[in-house]
Every structure is written in structure tokens, then in C-alpha cells.
């Protein structure tokens, strides 16, 4: 019983990081209606920028965090320009193939610049390990959970209370309507893309700091986790993205404990496959099903 509770806590913590990745994906998909295959690799660029700073000057956590964010946002801006902004609006498949090419390019570039198998990333070892009776709480996990909560609230406020947020929501509803009502579509889409990368960068930073080491394989891993978490919750709602991440983390933690590593992977994919087919609308956010169906048709 204690095991189940412990697994749940661990799962929710890592799940909140997945939720952040899913948030990034949801924002991009919301305004672009296209799949960004290079999401993980742009975050990878950020993480390696942080690791480089760490290895070069043994910088503190805050400069490393800033470098991670800056790297992720710059790489995402590059991807947005080449694969989304400059490709005609109706060619969703072209954007997908193009972002795939940039995924390969960024990942190969990182692998050449950092030829070792893995690199050290600073971890939060200053914080103490919390004990609640028989349960152990790693401080990184609490940091993850709190960061995710704060970011979601901030994002929600931005989307509902600011003019920019209104523009983003208009854009995700209808590109045409947004253009007609005077929204600078290109600029809003670009900024949303950068915000998504920054959120992903925060998640990437937390994940890397928890693991303490990073490798170039992290890029694909991030893309997969974000994509899966976004899809199990249904598309197009922030709350849903977070729930999807938490569910994914929970399932993974329990399966890992009871079935081992390869059992965990199979369980996750099998559940995902079944869930997609039985609940094509996702677990949450059923309210705007019509808008979402429209979105799905367009990919």
C-alpha cells in the first residue's frame, strides 16, 4: 500500500513535468494546427546550452536556467521561421516534413558539438530530502510540481486576462477571423511558439536537473512524452494538457514499479492506443469538441 502511495507521489511529480511539455505542444498546435516534430530537439538545444555553461564555468543554477530557456527559445524561433511561418498556410504536411528535417539537423548538430555519451547537469542537491512518515519526497519533485502549478496559473491568466491572450485564443479558434479582426497573425503565432518553447525549456530544465545527466536522446524522449500527454487528454485545453501529463506520469510510475522498465513502455503504448480508440476525444476538455474536431481535420 505504501508502495502505491509512494509511486503515486513520484508519478505525479514527473507527470507535472510531462504536463508542462504537453502545454507547450498544445499551445503550438492550438495556433498552428500543425505538428512540430522539432519540439523536443529545440528544448534539447536549451538543455545543452545550460550544460555547456555548467561545464565551462561551473555557473550557478540561475544563469544555467536562463541559458536553458534562451537556447530553447532561440532554437524554437529558428524552427518556427523555417518550418511554419515561411511555408504556405495550407501545407500542413510540408511543415511536418520540414520540422522533421530540423529535428535531425538540431540533434546532429548537438551530437557533433557534444560528442560524449552523456554530460553532467547540475542538480538541486542543496535541498533536503523530505520524510513524511514512511514516504520520501525528493525536493526536485516538489519543485517540479510547484513550478508546473505556477506556470499553468500564469498561462491561464495571460490567456484570459490580456489582449495578447485574447489574440491567441482568437487565432486558435479561426485564423481567418483573427486576420479579419486585425490580429497580426504572424507575430502572435511566433510569440506563442516562443512561449511554448520557454515552457518546454522550464520542463526540460527540471527533468535534466532531476536526472543530473543528459544525453542527445533526450530530444526524442521529450517530443514523445509531450505528444502522448497532449493526446491522451484531448487537444486544445490547458487543463487537459496538465491532466494528461499527470495521468501519463502516474501510469508510468506504477507500471515501472510492478512491471519493470520494458513492461512500463509496453503498458504506456498499449494504454495509449486503446485510450485513443475508445475515447477519441480524450479524457478532458470535452466541451469544445466541435472546435477540436475542426482542428483534427486540418492536420
Amino acid at each position: 500500500m505504501i508502495d502505491v502511495v509512494q509511486n503515486t507521489l513520484d508519478g505525479l511529480a514527473i507527470g507535472s513535468a510531462y504536463g508542462l511539455l504537453a502545454l507547450g505542444f498544445t499551445l503550438i498546435f492550438g495556433v498552428m494546427r500543425r505538428l512540430n516534430m522539432a519540439f523536443g530537439s529545440s528544448i534539447l538545444v536549451g538543455i545543452f546550452a545550460g550544460a555547456w555553461l555548467h561545464g565551462q564555468w561551473a555557473a550557478g543554477m540561475i544563469p544555467i536556467f536562463a541559458a536553458t530557456l534562451a537556447g530553447a527559445v532561440l532554437a524554437a524561433a529558428y524552427v518556427e521561421r523555417l518550418s511554419f511561418a515561411w511555408i504556405r498556410g495550407d501545407a500542413a504536411l510540408a511543415s511536418m516534413a520540414s520540422s522533421f528535417a530540423l529535428w535531425m539537423q538540431l540533434e546532429d548538430g548537438i551530437a557533433r558539438a557534444f560528442p560524449q555519451r552523456s554530460y553532467a547537469f547540475p542538480s538541486f542537491d542543496i535541498l533536503p530530502l523530505l520524510e513524511l512518515g514512511p514516504l520520501l519526497l525528493r525536493p526536485e519533485f516538489i519543485a517540479m510540481f510547484l513550478t508546473a502549478a505556477v506556470l499553468v496559473v500564469a498561462l491561464h491568466l495571460m490567456l484570459t486576462r490580456t489582449v495578447f491572450g485574447l489574440q491567441v485564443r482568437t487565432l486558435s479558434e479561426s485564423r481567418e477571423a483573427a486576420r479579419v479582426s486585425g490580429v497580426n497573425v504572424g507575430r502572435v503565432a511566433f510569440l506563442t511558439f516562443c512561449i511554448a518553447a520557454a515552457i518546454g525549456g522550464v520542463a526540460g530544465f527540471l527533468i535534466a536537473a532531476t536526472d543530473g545527466q543528459i544525453s542527445t536522446k533526450l530530444g526524442l524522449w521529450i517530443t514523445m512524452k509531450g505528444l502522448i500527454a497532449m493526446v491522451i487528454s484531448g487537444l486544445g485545453s490547458l487543463r487537459g494538457a496538465l491532466i494528461g501529463g499527470l495521468v501519463l506520469g502516474l501510469v508510468e510510475a506504477q507500471a515501472q514499479w510492478y512491471l519493470g522498465a520494458s513492461g512500463r513502455e509496453i503498458t504506456v503504448f498499449a494504454l495509449l492506443f486503446v485510450a485513443l480508440i475508445l475515447l477519441p476525444q480524450g479524457l478532458a476538455g470535452r466541451a469544445d469538441a466541435a472546435a477540436r474536431n475542426e482542428a483534427l481535420r486540418r492536420l
Binding site: 498546435f29 523555417l82 538540431l106 493526446v231
Partner: protein, 309 residues
């Protein structure tokens, strides 16, 4: 010289992989499961020759049929979802297949030696070609005969009602349904055909490399499979062939002299191609569609631009 034959073999199996995604993409479905069907074909064909001593030809046909059967079974539930949901559902299926082979150990003894898949070690010694005295150029010619047959079949299909039906579903499902097409049958049919072609390709691939392991059949291969028809364009089967030659021949092999810069240029050239030709290198023409569906006045690209945001 063997190097060039080896290269031609890679082009051949990748063309089959790309064509399997092409058939499915014609109906508007982005399937990331093709690497999974390719893996099923590879392991099945390897088992047929190495474990049961079959001839190569029945072995790859069986591999194709097994892949097609599984594609058909998966197609029914998977095609209930569309767009991004389908991408992720098929991705999940492909990964399940990969993990299945990662855990599969089943070996039989033949002539004092063990043959068969051995979990993470992979499936070694699929030595049908060397054991039967096939030379490199024999194998290459064999592969390209298979590729030519598949391409001819698809090209011919494109010019029959079947091709028009596939494209009709791909362009506008509602319109296709309203003229009485059975969407499920069309999509599952395309998925099955794609599974067969991927199985053939995988079966041949297993024999050219003699050792296969689960890692090869991951998300990367699945993305390559779908990238070929997108890059080449859905106009005809030659688009996919051209894309394979462009990516595998020019970008991966041709640019080797560039050294470290190759990977940068690889991305840049594909991005450039997609920016200049968003409908693929050879573009999208569906010349017979208008006359069969009686769509009235021909509007260039109208079938695509309708989906614009």
C-alpha cells in the same frame, strides 16, 4: 563497385518503405506505423528462410501477407481517429511492435546452430543470400525487380477507379462519403496494401543486412517512411522514388564529402524543398479525379487550398 550495389539495395528497400506510406497517405492518413509493419515483415521473412528453410520468394510474400493482415486488423480501430490522434495512435502501435520484438526470444536448431530472434540481441544470421550463392548484383537486381513490380502495380492502380477513390477520400472525406464511398473500407484497404508493401520491404531488408534488431525500427524510421511521400509529392509513385534518391542518395551519401556540415545541409535542403514546393518535389496532380467525380470546372490546387485556415 559493391559499394554502389549496396547503395542501390538501400534505395530499393527504402523505396518500398516510402511507397507503403504513400498508399496510406493518398487517403489523407498520416501513418507512423509503417516502421512497425516493416519490422513485422523483416522478422517474419527472416524466420521463414533462416528457421524454416523456405525459398526467398515465398518468404517475402508470406512476410507481406502477415504484415498486411496485421495492418488490416489494426486499421479498423486506428482509423476511427484522424489527424494528430492518428499520428500518435499509429506511433504507439509502431512502438508496441518494436518492444514486442525487443522481448521476443524464439530460436530453433538447424544443423547444430540456433536460429531465430533473441530479444535485445536481435535476429542474427539471416544468411539466405550468401548460403545460396547469390552475388551482390543478383540481390540488387532482385530488389529492383520487386520495386519495379510494386511501382508498376501502384501506378496502374492510380489510373483505375481504385486510385481515384483513394484520392477522393484523401481530398475530402465528406464529399467522398456523399457520393457513396465506404470510408472505412477505403481506408482499411489502403492500410492493408501499405502493410503488404512494408512487409515486402522489411523482408528484403532483413536479408540484405543479415542481422536485424529492434532499435532499427523506431520512431526515426517511421518518420523517414512518411517523409518520403510528403517530400516527393502525392502526384505519382515517382515522387516517392525521387524523394528516396534525394534523401538517401544525395543528402546522406552524396554529401559525405562535406563532413561535419552534412547534417546541417541535410536539414536546410529539405526545409528549402518544402518551402519552395509545399506539395512535394513532383507536386500533386490528380488528373483523373475531376472527370470521375464530375467536380465541374477545374481549379488548380483547389483541392488543397480549401483546407487553408
Amino acid at each position: 563497385m559493391d559499394f554502389y550495389f549496396g547503395l542501390a539495395q538501400i534505395f530499393g528497400v527504402h523505396t518500398l518503405l516510402g511507397l507503403s506510406a504513400y498508399v496510406v497517405l493518398l487517403t489523407g492518413q498520416v501513418s507512423m506505423a509503417q516502421a512497425g509493419f516493416y519490422a513485422i515483415g523483416a522478422y517474419t521473412a527472416g524466420a521463414m528462410t533462416a528457421m524454416f528453410g523456405l525459398h526467398i520468394l515465398p518468404a517475402i510474400v508470406i512476410a507481406g501477407l502477415v504484415s498486411a493482415a496485421i495492418a488490416c486488423i489494426v486499421g479498423f480501430p486506428a482509423l476511427r481517429v484522424k489527424g494528430l490522434m492518428l499520428v500518435v495512435a499509429t506511433l504507439a502501435f509502431g512502438e508496441m511492435v518494436r518492444l514486442f520484438f525487443f522481448n521476443l526470444s524464439w530460436q530453433v536448431e538447424r544443423g547444430g546452430e540456433l536460429f531465430g530472434p533473441d530479444g535485445a540481441e536481435g535476429f542474427r544470421s539471416i544468411r539466405y543470400f550468401p548460403e545460396n550463392g547469390w552475388e551482390v548484383w543478383h540481390v540488387t537486381v532482385f530488389i529492383w525487380i520487386v520495386v519495379a513490380v510494386v511501382m508498376a502495380a501502384l501506378w496502374w492502380m492510380d489510373r483505375t477507379r481504385a486510385g481515384a477513390v483513394l484520392r477522393a477520400v484523401g481530398h475530402d472525406e465528406v464529399a467522398a462519403q456523399s457520393i457513396g464511398l465506404n470510408l472505412t473500407a477505403v481506408k482499411v484497404g489502403a492500410m492493408t496494401a501499405g502493410g503488404f508493401i512494408a512487409g515486402l520491404g522489411g523482408g528484403i531488408y532483413a536479408h540484405t543486412v543479415t542481422h536485424i534488431e529492434h532499435g532499427v525500427f523506431g520512431v526515426l524510421l517511421a518518420t523517414f517512411a512518411i517523409a518520403y511521400p510528403i517530400l516527393g509529392g502525392l502526384g505519382s509513385v515517382f515522387g516517392t522514388l525521387l524523394a528516396v534518391l534525394f534523401i538517401q542518395g544525395f543528402l546522406i551519401e552524396g554529401l559525405r564529402f562535406m563532413g561535419d556540415w552534412r547534417s546541417l545541409l541535410f536539414g536546410a535542403l529539405i526545409v528549402l524543398a518544402m518551402n519552395l514546393r509545399p506539395n512535394g518535389l513532383l507536386g500533386e496532380h490528380a488528373p483523373r479525379l475531376k472527370s470521375i467525380l464530375r467536380l465541374g470546372k477545374p481549379a488548380p490546387d483547389s483541392l488543397e487550398t480549401k483546407d487553408a485556415n
